[in-house]
Every structure is written in structure tokens, then in C-alpha cells.
Symmetry: C2
Subunit: 130 residues, 2 copies
Amino acid sequence: MIVTDKKCRKSQQRKVILDELQKSTAHPTAKQLYQLVKKRLPDVGMATIYRNLDHLEKNNQVIKIGSKQNETRYDGKISKHCHLICRDCNHIIDLMDVDKIIIKSKELKQSKFKIDPNYAEIFGTCNACC
Amino acid sequence: MIVTDKKCRKSQQRKVILDELQKSTAHPTAKQLYQLVKKRLPDVGMATIYRNLDHLEKNNQVIKIGSKQNETRYDGKISKHCHLICRDCNHIIDLMDVDKIIIKSKELKQSKFKIDPNYAEIFGTCNACC
DNA sequence: CTGGATGCAAAGGTTTTGCACGCTA
DNA sequence: TAGCGTGCAAAACCTTTGCATCCAG
């Protein structure tokens, strides 16, 4: 579902932030984005970056990678399994019985990326949050 | 590859931290683990929790969930795609051409978890780090 | 004009580090 | 006894928030 915020104003800052993020392929951090934006708007503040990233994410113009929680979580089970992570409540479900994760992608083959089968995080919405 | 640290000592603290983590199914944060450990070792400090979690992770006894980087990263591409994340260098590769991710798991079906196809993070090692 | 957006500075959280002391092997 | 591990406190980070001011619509 795409939410369009009718009350939002298109400030220079917001435009530049979105533009820099769309131009980049590096998946930058807020700080890196700040450096990029600062080149075009030297007076920009860090708070503006964060506020706009939140705003843009809520309006589905930007993706925040990973869990929305900013505390690291740990798992004492080291046998092969993967995690389902609820983007709403941060609940994590273990999938212990996954034989194989099949991803059909040419880019994956070309990338020569070596998938660690113990480590996949699949995001979505858990039963309680649906 | 399993790395066993020959110089490590089995302090009470380390044993209790590992034990609590293995008993838990909640994927606790460092702080939550601290509360659990504190019940058994009232004088334990937060630094001990963090140092041991690092140590245990390096020895493959504990999994740190998510990217090892603790800064949030953002993506300006909102079309459906998933991410390959290198656990060594934190490089993120976009897979734009994934039709479907197939996960064979009974637990997944039972969980009624609703996967967001735009959001999968597959961890491993990138070409440069192999 | 109006109220959303900004910049600055301060506060809030999490994680790391320095240091003297304690404890395992 | 050697040197790894601990607890405490301070520091280092990342992110959020309060407030006066600015500016887009």
C-alpha cells in the first residue's frame, strides 16, 4: 500500500536527500548521506537528515535496511536455521527446518556472492500483527 | 569453519551468559541478557556482557542477528528487490531480478508469517572477501 | 499567514574502552 | 604466577527531541 502524505511540503532539503539516495548504489548510512547532502546544502543539519529519512520511509520513498530496532539481538542456537523478522513488532521466529532457500536470479550467479545458509533474514508481518 | 580459541578461560560470567542465551528463545538484546544474568550474578557489569557476546560470536557459539554494522543504512530504490549483505565488509548488493524466493519449511507455513517479498536479506560473503 | 520543516544544541540510548583488580589455568 | 576477564566509570557513537526561526503553499 502506498501512502501519500498530503500535508508534506517539498523543501529543498527533502528533495536533495531523496535525490542523493536515489543516485547512490552504496546503501549509505545517515552520516554518509549527510556528507553528500552537505556538498549541495552546506548548512544542512544531521537532524534534518534523520527526520527526512523517517518521513520518506513512512511515505514509501525510501527503504530502511534491516530491523527497525536499533539494538543488536543475539541467538544462542548455532545450528543451521534462518530468521523471520516482523517489521511491526520486531518479533523473531526461528525456522529450524529449512532445507534450502531457492533464489532464482541471474544477478546472484554473476555476483559470485557466497550465501551462508545459516543466515537469512526474511522480513514481513507476524501472525499477531496481521 | 569453526574457530576454537585456545586461550579462552571459562569464567562464571561467560558460562552464565552462554547458558541464558541458549535457554532463551526470545533472541534477547544485550540489555535483556544483562537482566537475566544479573539474577544469577548480581555484580555483573554491562561491559562483561558485551565483551563476552563478542568473544562468543568470534568462537561461533553465538549468532549476532543482522548486519554487524550498527548504523542503519538506507536504499532509495523502492522497486521490489532483495539484498545480499556481506558479513565481512558490510557491502550490500541489490538483487533486482528475483522472481521468487522459495523457502521450504513446515514451520513457515504453521507460523502464518506473511513474507514481504521486497524485504529479504541474505547474508554471506561477497566476491571481494572470499 | 499557517503550520510543516529546519538548524542548533542538548538529551537519550547503545556499545566501546581505559584502568586497576581479581581469578583461572 | 601470568595474563585473561571483570567491574566501574567515562567516552564514543548513533539517533531523537525541544525550541525558536524559517519558508512553502
